[in-house]
Point group: C2
Chain length 363, copies 2
């Protein structure tokens, strides 16, 4: 079967590019003695998680319990859930997972850690704990204060927990190479302040986990990182390219689409809208548009309806109904989460079909 046999819209993963992306990140981490714990929220596909482990990943990261359950069902045994889990039902699911493998969670409050500890103790399992600190993204994570150290001491003393160390998410480090220099320097000052407080309180931190895709290849320059958790690097996307962390030929996932209408002057309508590509805006650069057209970078995907992509084209373009194009989405993580399956391709040959098994696992 070739891609010409597929109905559109269809998600294609280029096997060669995927393999190169997996190898490049694995080699970088190996060269710098960093553990690689890829965030699988990007792909939600157990087959890709297994490839990451085969390339030397120390374990995987997920955002939600439902994703962890899918990955555990696929035989993956070392899972970090980077999410504050609240409530008896979630703690029960967490301890069930911990009876099947090595499970850790991120926390940023004593009340969540205490709930996890109580459930772990009752179930007779051990849950790894990583304390999340806020280094500037301002989403989750303790502020770097002596109050936080006091809470950490209480958490470390709780039975049922395994103290793994600390975790940061440098989601604010997104820009291009120029701004990144300044960002790294700033991040290191914050990290140093954190280590100073931890040292003063004699709190050990065997694990210091950080790292998103845009800053991934600068991870060795952040102080004392032992592990990184990039997600998007397996595929890359328009955001990654805009952040100068990849080029378009490093983008492993493209959306195969068809031109279905050319009635409106200066436009071609693609059979892929926000329910296929996601409406996520570009995070840097001019922030315009919803995807990059591989064959025609000069065409602009200006607007999305739910099922229509509005492509701006020159008036005398030779684009016709039935023409197929390949689109690099702005944000691959939210794009793939809209789909049940992806096609693995080598050139134009379709060599496999994978289920997006953890799609929609928001709870």
């Amino acid at each position: 079967m070739t891609i010409h046999d597929l109905e559109t819209p269809a998600l294609l993963i280029d096997a060669t590019v995927l393999d190169r992306n997996l190898r490049t990140m694995a080699e970088y981490c190996s060269d710098h003695t960093l553990a690689l714990r890829p965030h699988t929220k990007t792909h939600k596909i157990p087959e890709i998680a297994r490839l990451q482990l085969q390339h030397g990943a120390a374990g995987i990261t997920v955002a939600k319990l439902g994703e962890a359950e899918v990955m555990a069902d696929a035989g993956i045994t070392d899972i970090l859930i980077v999410y504050p889990l609240w409530g008896e039902k979630k703690w029960k699911r967490l301890t069930d997972l911990a009876s099947r493998g090595r499970i850790a969670v991120a926390v940023d409050s004593l009340v969540v850690a205490a709930g996890v500890a109580q459930a772990a103790k009752a179930a007779g399992v051990e849950i790894g704990i990583r304390a999340e600190f806020d280094t500037g993204f301002h989403r989750c994570g303790w502020a770097i204060t002596t109050d936080a150290m006091a809470e950490l001491e209480k958490i470390i003393a709780l039975p049922g927990l395994r103290w793994d160390g600390i975790l940061v998410y440098p989601g604010h480090i997104m820009g291009n190479q120029n701004t990144r220099e300044r960002d790294i320097e700033h991040e290191n000052k914050i990290l140093d302040a954190l280590f100073e407080l931890l040292d003063s309180a004699s709190i050990p931190y065997p694990v210091v986990s950080g790292g998103n895709t845009p800053a991934a290849f600068a991870s060795h320059r952040f102080h004392r990182l032992t592990e990184i958790r990039p997600g998007t690097y397996v595929f890359n996307d328009r955001n990654t390219v805009e952040a100068e962390s990849a080029e378009f030929n490093d983008c492993a996932l493209t959306v195969l689409v068809t031109v279905v209408s050319t009635s409106i002057s200066g436009r071609a309508i693609l059979d892929a809208g926000s329910k296929t590509l996601s409406a996520d805006a570009l995070l840097s650069g001019d922030r315009l548009g919803y995807g990059y057209i591989l064959q025609h970078p000069e065409f602009k995907l200006k607007e999305l309806s739910e099922e229509h992509g509005h492509l701006g084209i020159p008036n005398h373009s030779r684009i016709r109904i039935g023409d197929r194009l390949r689109v690099v989405p702005n944000h691959v993580c939210t794009c793939i989460n809209l789909h049940d399956r992806v096609y693995l391709v080598e050139g134009e040959q379709v060599i496999d079909e994978w289920k997006v098994a953890a799609r929609g696992k928001v709870a």
Copy 2:
């Protein structure tokens, strides 16, 4: 079971509000002798499509073939596909559908109509055809020209097709009551020009299909409409309220969420981000924010990560980890498309669970 027993995030549909929304639109259409052919892309749930038919809908509308197949599998027999379908595989699926019920498609090109006709003739079925005209939204639809009339004459002459009439999508009529008056007047001028051309060419138009939710209750004022295709009215959402077509107590679908972190001053983090609510922006008003918090309208859902909602709260708010809130999403159609199931509730009682059976059917 009550909503307190549900894990979050969870989609709740208030049965009372849903019923009222269904009845109000059905009565409006009945009062004005308009056929109601609701767009089921909003809910993608066969049970709700059946309720719409029980309330007198003439049939249903879908965007994609995959949605039509799910609805046909659920026993629904009168389906309009408002989408230009291209390619042998799609035409085969279309004629398979037509062997099971009364199927019509919108077209805006001779080439698509010819493909459909050829497939219909080969399969020995009849496919209804509605010609889409552009009245200002500039997405699909012929321009109102004599050239279009010449193409229509060719289409009407094709064997295998049943000529149903014309179709418009007034997606540009979105604003508040003030701007809408001017929009209706403008739309009528365009429609009159279309009717004049059709009459000159002696092309009949038994069906004139229009109507989105924001303009739905003004449909009787558009010239010669025989049918409307509103979708969002079953649930309503923040966009509908912003367009002054509903109030928040008319919003049948809310997302039940939990506060999972309060580490960042002035913020509470909800367990629902763009993979739960969708990142669709508000289409009118200040265009800010990603949802409306029913219990605390003063809290602003400022940003979304994939699995985190960033809620701006006063610094001395009493919001705590574990608190549950209900969010009206900006755009309910893209929100529900992210989920496998919804819960039907009466007050706090959960009375049913429905599968979002046509979720993700983009092809």
